[in-house]
Symmetry: C2
Subunit: 115 residues, 2 copies
DNA sequence: ATGATACTTAAGCAATCACTTAACTGATGG
DNA sequence: CCATCAGTTAAGTGATTGCTTAAGTATCAT
């Protein structure tokens, strides 16, 4: 019933506001209002986005006093990257093998044609 | 108002059925029904998933006779991977710099403490 | 031609999404 | 103390998602 982590990571990454927040967070931790500042939406909307990011494991937060500080969690970013990388590599290997096969076919054809 | 390509790529990747289809497609092109076969859902549902994959640029399809053949488009996969990679690298560089800074601070402290 | 195959289109439905406004809690600074 | 600041909670809304079933439309084999 609980969705796979990858589902939630990619879902989190699919929103431009959330990607903007992540981009900001690569330059260091930030408070909720710092994350909200460049975005054209209400604070509660931002808080909801942060909840999605946190739920996906992309971001870790900690509240000290009245300010909640957010940080990137590189691990889940890396797992998502790895999933994509594996598929892409496999597909490219397949294309390479296909290329080799076609080259071989062409050579055989030439051979057959010149006796 | 049309969503950024990255939005749609990550959105497409966020569904397990669509990831399963992509995974199948890394082993070579497949028809709609071949993609549908391992999935516990109706054909129209599968067709809709394929439309999402195609709309995101992750998959290219071509209909010959009555069978539509689907193929991975590695390019958009790579662009998504690159976005993640850039953020992750930047965050990790930041952590490294922070580590260096803290190490330096500790050294200075020790220096200051032993006159 | 006929019937099976391989999708396609259309309509509908419940759940989730990305917001909003309004009201609230709980630090902090003067 | 009390006002401000930082964030939270709750409730509502319109749009989008991920399915479904039912009824098509081409193609292909016989």
């Amino acid at each position: 019933m609980s969705p796979e982590p990858l589902d939630r990571v990619f879902q989190a990454l699919s929103d431009p506001a959330r990607r903007a927040m992540l981009e900001r967070l690569t330059r260091g931790p930030a408070s909720v209002s710092e994350l909200a500042q460049p975005l054209a939406m209400s604070l509660p909307a931002v808080v909801q986005h942060i909840a999605v990011l946190e739920g996906s494991g992309l971001v870790r937060t900690e509240k000290i006093g009245r300010v909640r500080t957010c940080q990137i969690e590189a691990g889940s970013l890396q797992r998502a990257e790895q999933w994509i990388n594996e598929r892409r590599i496999q597909w490219e290997r397949r294309l390479d093998r296909l290329g080799d096969y076609l080259a071989l076919q062409t050579k055989d054809e030439t051979k057959g044609k010149t006796p």
